[in-house]
């Protein structure tokens, strides 16, 4: 499946407003690849500069691929996962 058929879970919209840091980590994934999700479901928790944020599913579908694993680092602009819309 090409990336154009899936919806990106983008980290930028969850970046804490007052964070100077340009990197963060994924502390926990709550769903595994292949799981069915609904828009607004909790996908993972991220941490940027000691601030936690919940990342939610942007659409109904199947979690196609996790791109940043637990304890993995990401930078601004990164995509954490891709969802295949249902």
């Amino acid at each position: 499946m090409s990336d154009t058929d899936t919806v990106a879970v983008e980290v930028d919209q969850y970046w804490p407003d007052d964070a100077d840091e340009d990197e963060g980590i994924v502390s926990t994934w709550f769903v595994r690849e292949g799981a069915t999700v609904e828009e607004g479901d909790l996908l993972c928790e991220i941490q940027v500069e000691k601030v936690d944020a919940d990342v939610l599913a942007p659409t109904d579908g199947t979690l196609d691929e996790i791109l940043v694993p637990e304890d993995g680092e990401f930078a601004r602009g990164d995509v954490l996962a891709r969802i295949e819309p249902s």
């Binding site: 502390s27 069915t36 928790e45 304890d71 249902s86």
Partner: protein, 341 residues
Amino acid sequence: MAQTQESVVERELTMSRAMVEAIAHEMREDEEVFYMGEDVADYGGIFDSTAGLREEFGYDRIMDVPISETAYLGAAVGAAQAGMRPIAELMFVDFFGVAMDQVYNQMAKNTYMSGGNVSVPMVLTTAVGGYYNDAAQHSQTLYGTFAHLPGMKVVVPSTAYDAKGLMHNAVRDDDPVVYMFHKRLMGIGWMPAPDGPKTPVPETDYTIPFGSADVKREGADVTIVTLGLHVHRALEAAESLAEDGVDCEVVDLRTLVPLDDETILESVGKTGRLVVVDEDYRSFGVTGEIVARVAESSLADLEAVERVAAADVPIPYARPLENEMLPSTDDIEAAVQDTQS
């Protein structure tokens, strides 16, 4: 896609989120349920034990309290006797000393002392455990201290699934329950949990009855009885021992009071070998109690006994020293090997 009632739970939760989900459910169902403690409102609990609750329920039901454990735990006992169902959090179990009269003499005994005229339907939640270099006054588990004194039920969850079911049961219980959650299992960003405590958790409410231990791994050669964080250490040891041909059964107690003797005795009856693992101090504690109960009931079944516990010294701050004195996976493996000779 249509979901059936029996559909597999795909959602996994950390232990802290599972606890919070149960508390939120109980608060929606019963307006007498409220939560108070230090840094539980705006901060959400320093170990995420109340994350998000203040946003939903407001400051009247999620209350930050002044730093006087004796005052607010006493207030919780009074509120419980007056018909409310308080959940009061002792930030670190190590701090119980300053509120010892409220916990030991009031919360635990008022039902008895009043001749049954009052009940004390409260939950005392508290963070326990070490392995993060917080030294002797912030790292204890004190399981034995609380389990020792009659009048309190004592709950120690090891997974998100258990944490939610046990919390529902705790809030609905008409007697005082001490709910001891291990910091290292909560799934906090700055204190990563081992693999294991994060489990699938149903969104609906469910209860796990007290006094029902859970066999987390079945095995034929040795019974490992443990609780809390060390369920996961024992499971890790069991995986490694399996490669050496030693098949371990891991019994997670889940509650110390009431204690599920039956499951322990049944397991030892099968394996003949008992290893008890506890993060609390070795002397006068959980390990001695379990061994004594098995010896009293099933002495003939016992071929070997080992206990693995914290050394009887204050928990050191220095990492190498703390690692040396608290029970490790390697210590469990060595103890199991000792039962095989």
